[in-house]
């Protein structure tokens, strides 16, 4: 048999962490080709028509990776439809004639199953090695998130256009190569210092917008048409709270996490809405009280947990005249439509602030 090449779905720049994970397990990673229109086209062509759009992107990644020679696919999942992706995707890919092994990490919230799944990715790997591989990948994901967070808040105010991207581009290259925990920590520290040294034209009180919603469209700029960046470009400090490592931590400590969220979402929500729905409500309510200027709520078209959250968000928005931009993504979402909406949203926020100060 030829070499085992392990692939995974794309999500933002997390491929750097996933690649490290596979490498450290002692297997050979195959990073799926970068997301392009072709990814979505080929994914959508073989997907059920009105399945949510992350399914189509994932499937597109898998097809492109299999065409590039991948033989093992690692797929994860969450609390809603996402948890059922892997099985249906496997059936579709097999019908297309691909030969591969699917490792479905969805079911494994127990440590034992989790380890067994990793051993399927890299047969013969020791438990100790799994722990180390997971830890370093996790550390890299944390570093990605720390840099990303800083960029979201400041890139809209950079004095020299492209300055943030230059630093971040180098950070990604070096993070990919970093081997030891110490190296990752130093790199993160240095990059944050470099970012902090960039000159900014940032007002004392910039417009602040929180971004909430379904995890995949939140974390994959290709799927959300770079909405965070576009908001930033209109002079907005962008805040986002859902990250991969937080999702993992919340998955492990699910019950206390849900209890805490329900506390924050009080009095609007009494029970958990499923997936990220409760969090969307909790964060919107919290940020509104903290004086944020508005929220952007992103979801794949028809995403039920977020549709549930929407009925609450619409009420909060109406009763407190708090602007919430609702965006639904599907395979046909047009770039120009998104740009027009974001520009108009940012304009409106700016006018509200002007209206308040001049009144």
């Amino acid at each position: 048999m030829s070499e085992r090449l392990v692939t995974f779905p794309h999500m933002g720049e997390y491929w750097i962490a996933f690649e490290t994970l596979v490498l450290e397990l002692g297997a050979t990673p195959l990073v799926p080709p970068r997301m392009t229109k072709h990814t979505l086209e080929v994914g959508a062509r073989h997907s059920p028509e009105f399945v949510c759009v992350p399914f189509k992107y994932n499937l597109g990644n898998f097809i492109e990776a299999l065409d590039a020679g991948a033989s093992v696919i690692g797929q994860a999942g969450g609390g809603c439809r996402f948890g059922y992706y892997a099985e249906v995707q496997e059936a579709i890919l097999r019908d297309l004639g691909y030969e591969f092994e699917m490792v479905n990490l969805t079911s494994s919230w127990s440590i034992g199953e989790f380890i067994a799944d990793f051993k399927r990715i890299a047969p013969g790997v020791s438990t100790l090695r799994i722990a180390r591989a997971f830890a370093i990948a996790y550390r890299k994901a944390k570093a990605l998130e720390a840099i990303d967070d800083r960029v979201r808040k400041n890139v809209g105010f950079e004095s020299e256009h492209g300055a943030h991207d230059r630093i971040v581009g180098r950070f990604h290259r070096e993070l990919r190569a970093a081997g030891a925990f110490r190296d990752v920590a130093r790199l993160e520290e240095r990059t944050l210092a470099e970012l902090a040294a960039l000159p900014l034209d940032k007002p004392e009180r910039p417009l602040r917008v929180g971004v909430v919603g379904e995890l995949y469209v939140l974390m994959e700029p290709f799927a959300n048409h770079s909405i965070e960046r576009r908001l930033a470009e209109h002079g907005v400090e962008v805040h986002r709270f859902v990250t991969l490592t937080k999702l993992i931590e919340h998955g492990i400590r699910h019950r206390p996490h849900v209890r805490a969220l329900l506390g924050e979402a009080d009095p609007w929500v009494k029970y958990h809405l499923g997936a990220d729905g409760t969090e969307s409500v909790a964060m919107t309510w919290k940020l509104m009280q903290e004086g944020f200027d508005g929220m952007a709520h992103l979801k794949p078209f028809g995403c039920m947990p977020e549709v549930s959250a929407m009925s609450v968000l619409q009420r909060i928005s109406r009763e407190h005249t708090f602007p919430v931009l609702f965006v639904s993504y599907d395979a046909q979402t047009a770039e120009t439509g998104i740009r027009t909406r974001i520009e108009a949203f940012a304009d409106m926020l700016a006018m509200r602030v002007q209206g308040r100060t001049s009144a």
């Binding site: 399945v51 029970y271 028809g302």
Partner: protein, 312 residues
């Protein structure tokens, strides 16, 4: 006290349990009428546009109960058994209703086996919070549970009778869909009725032994967690040799159903299947054309199969 029950979602599965329980607790129950145009229109107007059709129907029913009772019953269900889930709309229903129609008094109970919140305790707690003595509530639950069980046994017996009986029409069709869709006056009833006027014999996925169907469904699709989709998938396997064709009734844009129908089409072969996607404004004309041509195809297949046998 008058408690209103919306004739939507799980009412179609658990009306025996709920009405028996509430009445044994001493409440009067008021059930909303079968879905009509007005109810649907109000539901569409109230719900978030991207909500699924059954959620819109629920909201319409709830509003129609406003003023006709003292409180409306909207349970919240997450999981009946460990490791198994319901679609998230059942988790969100109570809070969706509360935020969509804020001035309505609601009563609710929560079922979440994963967190050890079971139906019995939860229903009794609900009754207690409404002033029902513990002893009465406990007894009401026992009676309600027994009545529900008897009801389900009867449904399972129906399935067996389908298997044992000779066909009443020249083609027999399995209609697969959630009970809240198939039993709905505006969604499923016209489809079942039209198939019958075409001369087809209709069996529905609701007429199965639910526990058996869930086990069967689970073996066909090991990672599928949705309780009711397991029943639907299982019903396909249990009935496939007894019917000539299968019609999936899916409401737009149901996530679990879209994935299940896809998997089913790939795993179950050799039997004609068609999927009807319904939304609140789907014209009846298109639906009828599709059903009619599907029945024609089934008849033609039977005729040919018959010819082959005779000719062989």
């Amino acid at each position: 006290m008058r408690v209103g029950l919306p004739r939507a979602l799980l009412y179609h599965k658990y009306h025996v349990l709920w009405t028996t329980f509430l009445e044994e607790c001493g409440f009067t129950t008021v059930v909303s009428p079968p879905t009509n145009r007005r109810i649907l229109e109000r539901g569409v107007a109230l719900a978030v546009d991207e909500s699924c059709l059954p959620m819109k129907v629920l909201l319409g029913h709830i509003e129609s109960l406003s003023g006709r009772c003292d409180a409306v019953f909207v349970p919240r269900q997450e999981a009946f058994e460990r490791g198994e889930h319901l679609c998230v709309k059942f988790m969100g229903a109570y809070d969706i209703v509360r935020n969509t129609i804020p001035d309505l008094r609601l009563v609710t109970y929560d079922v979440n086996a994963d967190h050890g919140v079971d139906e019995r305790r939860s229903m009794i707690a609900m009754a207690r919070s409404l002033g029902v003595p513990a002893r009465v509530a406990r007894r009401a639950y026992v009676l309600a549970e027994a009545a529900q069980h008897a009801h389900e046994v009867e449904l399972a017996r129906l399935q067996q009778s389908v298997a044992d009986s000779p066909r009443s029409g020249d083609v027999r069709i399995l209609v697969v869909g959630h009970s809240y869709n198939l039993a709905d006056e505006l969604i499923g009833a016209p489809i079942l009725g039209y198939l019958r006027t075409l001369g087809a014999e209709v069996v529905t996925s609701d007429e199965v032994d639910k526990a058996l169907a869930r086990r069967t469904g689970a073996s066909m699709s090991p990672t599928m967690k949705w309780r009711y989709n397991k029943e639907l998938l299982g019903s396909v396997e249990l009935y496939r040799d007894m019917v000539d064709g299968i019609v999936f009734v899916v409401t737009f844009p149901c996530g679990p159903d879209s994935l299940m129908a896809e998997l089913c089409a790939r795993r179950v072969t050799g039997i004609p299947m068609t999927t009807l996607v319904l939304d609140e404004l789907a014209g009846e004309a298109g639906t009828r054309t599709r059903l009619e041509s599907f029945v024609d195809i089934l008849r033609e297949r039977r005729r040919r199969a018959h010819l082959t046998v005779v000719g062989a």
